[in-house]
């Protein structure tokens, strides 16, 4: 197993390199003089000159890329000109908040989505199935930011169950329960779409598995219907569900940007939007590379989970 994990980690190296190439190329699209564009309205002539030197913008594109990559590998992502602090510090600080939000949303979407899909498939064409199918349709059709706004209106303003926004109260203690009350609405709003997608896929995966011969074998053994659904069918269906969970992880991680805006969550997404509006390009670059790299690593975890579930995968 360790060998398999190492192998997957090694195979992630070209993907990570690819990600930096793509980000680099996208940034090369910037029209006009890159140094001025990167530094934006905060540029002073000295800064422009320094950046030109740092990035070697007078050098060929390939050489520029390697300079940039080398700097990043040494932990130097440059300095945010809008915030006047190292990009890495800012991103890491923000990333924790995003991970809390996206992680919670991911757990919600995985648990609720799979459960809903299984219940739906087990009662195909029944009342529960119809109700879930409709809820799923609603869930995947509603923009998460609109849902978040409506939740604020209902649960924070009218019912006063949850605070309107933010991760922590401005004053007062920081405890887990405080965090959870702040987290509940944004995590749910973020999870809704992904839950719908997972539920849909789980339902069809379950229906496919329930037709298989080994389900008939389980029934012929006298296994209870609950055992057939949750032990036999779900385990086999997970083989198809897990990759989709991996995709949804990327979705909640990056979709968090909307929710962070709506709920004033101090995460990386909101930082990126601010940075884009202020043309703080180095901050955008650093944020995108780090989040994407984190997602690549998470996908390795998904592959490992898959190989633990399915012994037929060669490890």
């Amino acid at each position: 197993m360790t060998g398999y994990i190492l192998k997957r980690l090694l195979s992630a190296v070209p993907v990570l390199i690819g990600i930096t190439v793509i980000v680099f190329l996208i940034m090369a699209l910037i029209p006009g003089d890159p140094a001025t564009a990167i530094l934006g309205s905060y540029a002073t002539p000295e800064n422009v000159a320094k950046l030109n030197r740092d990035l070697g913008l007078d050098k060929p594109l390939v050489q520029q890329y390697f300079i940039w990559l080398g700097n990043m590998l040494q932990g130097d992502f440059g300095t945010s000109f809008a915030l006047n602090r190292p990009v890495l510090d800012e991103v890491l600080e923000r990333f924790g908040a995003t991970l809390v939000l996206a992680g919670t949303a991911f757990v919600l979407c995985a648990v609720l989505g799979v459960a809903a899909g299984v219940v739906s498939a087990a009662n195909q064409y029944g009342l529960a199935d119809k109700a879930i199918t409709f809820a799923v349709l609603l869930g995947i059709s509603i923009p998460s930011f609109f849902l978040g706004m409506m939740m604020i209106l209902l649960f924070a303003v009218n019912l006063r169950w949850f605070p309107v926004s933010g991760m922590w109260p401005i004053y007062g203690a920081r405890s887990l329960s405080v965090l959870l009350t702040h987290l509940a609405m944004p995590a749910f709003a973020l999870a809704v779409v992904a839950t719908g997608v997972v539920a849909r896929l789980s339902r069809s995966a379950m229906l496919e598995v329930l037709r298989q011969d080994f389900i008939r074998t389980a029934r012929a053994k006298g296994v209870s219907e609950r055992g057939v659904i949750w032990r036999h069918a779900l385990k086999a269906a997970m083989v198809a569900i897990i990759p989709v969970l991996g995709i949804q992880a990327g979705f909640v991680l990056s979709g968090a940007v909307y929710i962070e805006m709506v709920f004033q969550w101090p995460g990386v997404g909101r930082m990126l939007v601010d940075a884009i509006l202020k043309r703080d390009i180095l901050l955008v670059q650093g944020g995108v590379v780090l989040v994407a790299a984190c997602y690549v690593l998470f996908n390795i975890a998904v592959d490992v989970a898959q190989s633990l579930l399915d012994p037929r995968i060669k490890t």
Partner: protein
Amino acid sequence: MTAFVALLARNRLALAGGVVLVCVVLLALAVPVLPLADPDVTNTAQRFQPPLSPGALLGTDHLGRDLLSRLLWGTRLSLAVGFAAAIAAATIGAAIGIVAGFYGGRTDNIIMRGVDMLMAFPYILLALAIVAALGPGLFNALIAVAAVNVPFFARNIRGITVGIAHKEFVDAARLAGLSNRRIILSEILPNVIPVIVIAMSTTIGWMILETAGLSFLGLGSQPPQADLGSMLGEARSALITNPHTSIVPGVMILIIVMSINLLGDGVRDALDPRLKSGALSRPMAATRVDRAQTPPPPSGAGLLEVAALETQFHVRNRVYRAVGGVDLHVRKGECLGIIGESGSGKSVTALSIMGLVASPPGVITGGAAYYDGHDLIGAPYGRLRDIRGRSVSYIFQDPLSTLHPLYRVGDQLIEAIRAHRPIGRAAGRAKAVELLRAVRIPNPEKRITDFPHEMSGGMRQRVGIAMALANDPDVIIADEPTTALDVTVQAQVLTILDDLRRSRGLAIIFITHDFGVVAQLCDRVGVMYAGRIVEEGLTSDILRAPRHPYTARLMACVPELGAGKRRLEAIPGLPPVVDNLPQGCAFADRCQQVQAACRRAGIPLERHGTHAVRCLYPVPQSQEATP
């Protein structure tokens, strides 16, 4: 195409989605000629008017602009951008996919590597990066959304293209000297366009959502121009004081995306062949029973007794009569063979006994299966489950697909026991080892931790038999258990079954299409054709002197009992389709003895002593058999 439209129309939700969508699109198209207020004229004296105010049906926003007018103009813009992004992504993605799939080799490799890289990004993040480079703006947002969706199309279309690129008509075009470009345009493209359209119908909702999202963040359309997303973004600061300014554009996005999704789902379902065939419906825990008549009472002839069993498959409005009135019984310690071609109803008969026929589409429409005098077919599910695997157990044909692929065989054996009585870990393990030893698996202590795919076919089938024995059943129903095995392994498995029958007094029903197996194992045999027993008797009698012309032909196809290929396909003609059975003898079309009388009416099963035949002109007893 008309069938497709009809199917779509039958799906009422999809139809509703389509109607709503058409209405919204028509409305958006008509916006310039509608008598609306100017969407951009500000009037701060009139800000935040509530809906239904005079002169402003939906009220006004924070600058006093008419919300209805802004909503409709915004809808127009959002739809236009969403569709444009979808078309751009589909066109570019399809072009990339076709090139990669058509040329293959290194081109394919390089392109798909790039596509995979792009897909390694969480894709909203990628859109943000693109907007960051190009700068905020609606057109740039459109480019970003289209770009992040290109890989999805490229990958889908490449898959389809690879399939087509190796078809004969493409080879023919190549031989005819057509240029690659001509082949792509005239042969490949027409075949992938339907796929592109389907992929678009499922993604266009997303693209509208994503562009709205970017505008919501302030990265899309810039004021004063507004699409639905930026309307929502601007309204956010007044969410608590004037929620209507948020609700109006938000609900519109919801309506648009939901109607697109409904329609898209309908299109997908209409095109999915599995839905049509019912292959995606969940089989019930037990076969549905719908008996019109009370079944005949048990005769007491055997431990397990099937009387007048009728099982049908109801697919749409067609009825397939898979089993049309079968009687059979098996005693303790006896082995009854059931033989017939595939499609003769022998497996369905076997599965019907314990309600294991997949339902839908299966329905048991008549008859009974008596175990120890009690009918199983009408039995409540709880009782049926109690008997399954404990008193009557099954061995299935292909153990690779009938064992759970993700559980160790030991655990599957223990579960078979646990389904009927509690057993501790150690005791369960010991029992599993003992069961594997009983079916002569070498090294059972090691093998119980194997997964099914780690075993050979013969070993797997032994596990299947061990599982059937787990609770010391009285009856085993074996549905072609040796068909997937090679001849030597087959012989070993048969020996195991025969020994078990003798040592434990098992009653066995053995389904097969192989007379060699019947000769080796079975005391009696029933021959099935088109869902009915056509001949039944002691194995020795039937082997020596078959009376039914079908049986005789079956046996003539067997070159030598117990050796060589013994498949039954060598009879000219095909068995009748069971949704269209002839009135008289079902074998008439393939029978050499057929007479006019054979086709007139149903033919009864005539019994003389132990031998029964369903034929008006049975084969005369052969010379050496008649004294």
